[in-house]
């Protein structure tokens, strides 16, 4: 049995060097050499400045957390205080949790008022927190719902903003995987570039 432990210890040490150092460093070298944009987080720039990652959702709110009318808004987030890239998380609230039902109802009322629409028109993704708390996307329905308010806040034609949104709808992968989405950061950057 003692001999087995020595064999085990030596095997583990050698394999740790191969699997714990060699393997990740080889992958890092391939990533940094051949796929640097992806390996470093698909960073997005505006006027040369890094303003986030195309893959990570953000808040478009003021310091108090109130939504800014001139930007398209993301989904609710349970990551830290909202879209905290250092603390990814879902709400983990259950399907019959009254606290969750109450949040959904108050979000519905708030969004309906903010957008000036009937509460029944607010889509489900606008009312629910994502799994990661960093969901970069919203549904095309939610993006289109926000068009009149964004256009009014920026003094743009509704049709201009609507065309922009429609041009940024991403279909399903291969036509059948996942759901159609709009990337909120990309949309807002495109909006900033229109001005």
């Amino acid at each position: 049995m003692i001999r087995q432990f020595w064999t085990a210890l030596r095997a583990l040490l050698v394999l740790t060097l191969v699997l714990g150092l060699g393997y990740p460093l080889v992958v890092t070298a391939i990533g940094q050499g051949a796929l640097p944009a992806q390996a470093n987080g698909s960073l997005e720039r505006l006027d040369g400045q890094i303003v986030g990652s195309v893959l990570l959702g953000q808040s478009f709110t003021d310091a108090e957390g109130a939504p800014l009318p001139e930007w398209f808004q993301s989904r609710p987030s349970a990551a830290g205080a909202g879209y905290d890239g250092g603390a990814s998380s879902g709400s983990n609230l259950g399907p019959s949790n009254d606290e969750l039902v109450a949040s959904i109802e108050s979000r519905r009322a708030a969004i309906a008022e903010f957008e000036g629409v009937d509460p029944d028109r607010v889509p489900a993704d606008a009312l629910t927190a994502s799994a990661s708390g960093l969901d970069p996307h919203i549904s095309p329905e939610y993006a289109l719902l926000q068009v009149p308010r964004v256009a009014a806040a920026r003094g743009l034609d509704e049709s201009t903003v609507r065309e922009l949104v429609e041009s940024m709808i991403q279909g399903r992968d291969l036509g059948y995987l996942g759901e159609p989405t709009v990337n909120v950061l990309q949309l807002n950057i495109a909006l900033a570039e229109t001005d």
Partner: protein
């Protein structure tokens, strides 16, 4: 609704097509890689270095001692790395973890569970992630493959006192299978946007004038083996729902295929080793049938959107990512819980009561459809032994399977195997509510959702731990002395007791001579036997777990 059904069918058809195409070439490769008499030069060097003779077979007892010694050393090293984290390089300034968390995490990764009581980005730096967790992601999967191959040898060998050599099985599973496949998978995932760097946390100014933290890390290398080895432990708290782990619907499908590839090809390797390819097809067919029923039920539950919260929102989208949608989430969740992976691309705690209940049921089936790498195959073979025994009772014949008599010793070992995880699940859950101070702690600190759902969180934790899955109803705060310790014990016993029983079974079978088939022998490659096997899997789990399911997800879902 019609369009939705077609999206579901198209996704399943893609998965089926890839797995069918891989079945023969990958299965044959696994069989040859694991049983070829030839050693690679680099392997010979490794055997010399560790002092193992690769050409001498081990008795089942010696094989068990090697597995346990290797796993014990693994647990000690992962524990030590966490407890000394503050002195390790690339630790992002993070402190050592507590004794009970380090104990839980060490056992979790060595047992291929990857239960995470902690939030990785707040707790572990790159040193522990790489030197501890990534290493065990590969090695715990390699151990699973080794055990499955040892059991296959038990059926194939005639009157032999040995079942192979653990060090050879471990080395070959690592160097010939898991490591090269992981490198390829990591590159594919990186092409899709999974990150791979050592940058730490980076703060950027956003277009609204605020700031956001962008995390870094060697994620793709960890992600590839997390899926391929059916480990499931995320680099980030949000696991495969985090856009840096799983950026797109197609990477999510790739993740699903990585989880299923080896478990579905191992029956082919088994068929090759026992010299009858039809036996492999029968087993893979049963796995596929159970998977199909399970994924359909969960998807139906989530699309129906039962429960007050999904109804209020107009859809069960709480805890789901917009890019995956409901179907992209349920196919992933089913795959993850019916293998032993436990990765999540959506939060099971927020699923409808019946949808989340299906995740529980998948684990309670014993994770055999197709189960974890290696563990799924040896798990379903043990149930097959029970199934031929039941059939033998019905017709009054001595049962046999693949030419080996199933006698009292074999049935005892198979029964002990079947009883281990339910005992751990039910006793662990019961103790959490039966010991008054523990109950007070669990109810005040650990449980997140009120009512029956809170009970389901604790039941889910013990089911996940004992079956070495690793997924969670993640609202549960498990980083407490009681849950860290109790779940660690469940993971340890849920992994190693069944392994000891399987290796004893392998030893007992290998020592037997073959019984020539007669007209009265039950053929085990037929659809009829497949039905019997699937029925046994479902019936054993249903009888064991129905009462406790009635207290949790069924009570909540049928309100």
């Amino acid at each position: 609704m019609d369009a939705t059904v077609w999206l579901f069918v198209a996704q399943l058809a893609t998965i089926a097509a890839v797995l069918v195409a891989l079945y023969i070439p990958l299965g044959n490769y696994l069989a040859v890689a694991l049983t070829s008499p030839r050693h690679w030069r680099i392997e010979r060097g490794f055997y010399r270095l560790i002092g193992a003779d690769p050409d001498s077979g081990q008795s089942w007892g010696a094989y068990v001692r090697s597995v346990l010694a290797f796993s014990a050393v693994g647990i000690l090293v992962v524990y030590a790395l966490q407890r000394t984290q503050q002195w390790l390089p690339y630790s992002l300034g993070l402190p050592a973890t507590s004794e009970h968390l380090a104990f839980n995490t060490a056992i979790s990764f060595v047992t291929n569970t990857n239960w995470q009581s902690y939030s990785p980005e707040l707790t572990l730096g790159y040193a522990v992630q790489l030197l501890g967790l990534a290493v065990q992601n590969v090695l715990s999967a390699a151990v699973g493959i080794a055990i499955a191959i040892a059991l296959a040898r038990g059926f194939a060998y005639r009157r032999r006192g040995e079942i192979g050599n653990f060090w050879v099985d471990l080395t070959r599973s690592t160097l010939r299978i898991l490591l090269p496949f992981s490198i390829v998978a990591a590159v594919v995932l990186m092409a899709g946007g999974v990150i791979q760097n050592l940058a730490g946390f980076q703060e950027v100014s956003t277009i609204t004038g605020g700031t956001q933290v962008i995390p870094g890390g060697p994620v793709a290398s960890q992600e590839a083996i997390k899926l391929l080895g059916t480990n499931g432990g995320g680099f980030f708290n949000a696991n495969s729902s985090h856009p840096f782990e799983n950026p797109a619907p197609w990477t999510s499908l790739a993740s699903i295929l990585l989880m299923l590839a080896i478990p579905f090809a191992l029956p082919r390797a088994f068929g090759r080793i026992v010299g009858d390819d039809r036996q492999g097809v029968a087993i893979a067919g049963v796995m596929a049938a159970l998977f199909l029923v399970s994924v359909s039920l969960m998807t139906w539950a989530e699309l129906s959107g039962g429960g007050t919260a999904p109804q209020a929102a107009g859809g069960a989208l709480e805890g789901k990512e917009a890019r995956f949608g409901i179907i992209g989430s349920t196919v992933f969740s089913t795959t993850s819980t019916i293998t032993s992976t436990g990765a999540v691309n959506s939060m099971h705690d927020s699923y409808t009561a019946l949808g989340g209940g299906m995740a529980l049921v998948n684990m309670m089936l014993g994770e055999v459809a197709p189960g974890g790498v290696g563990a799924g195959l040896y798990g379903i073979l043990v149930v097959a032994i029970i199934a031929v025994f039941i059939a033998g009772l019905m017709v009054g014949r001595t049962p046999e399977y693949l030419g080996k008599k199933i006698g009292a010793r074999e049935i005892k070992l198979a029964s002990l195997y079947i009883l281990t995880t339910p005992t751990l699940v039910l006793v662990g859950t019961a103790l959490s509510f039966a010991i008054p101070p523990v109950r007070a702690d669990v109810e005040s600190t650990s449980i997140w959702n009120p009512g029956t759902h809170g009970f389901s969180e604790v039941l889910y934790a013990f089911t996940s731990a004992a079956n070495n899955n690793g997924s969670a109803f993640a609202g549960l705060t498990a980083n407490t002395p009681w849950l860290n310790t109790a779940l660690a014990v469940a993971m340890f016993l849920g992994r190693f007791l069944p392994i000891v029983f399987v290796l004893a079974l392998a030893g007992s079978l290998a020592g037997q001579d073959a019984v020539p088939p007669t007209t009265g022998t039950l053929p085990t490659h037929t659809v009829q036997f497949g039905g019997l096997l699937a029925g046994t899997i479902v019936l054993v789990s249903a009888l064991t777990y129905f009462p406790v399911l009635a207290l949790g997800p069924l009570a909540e879902g049928l309100q």
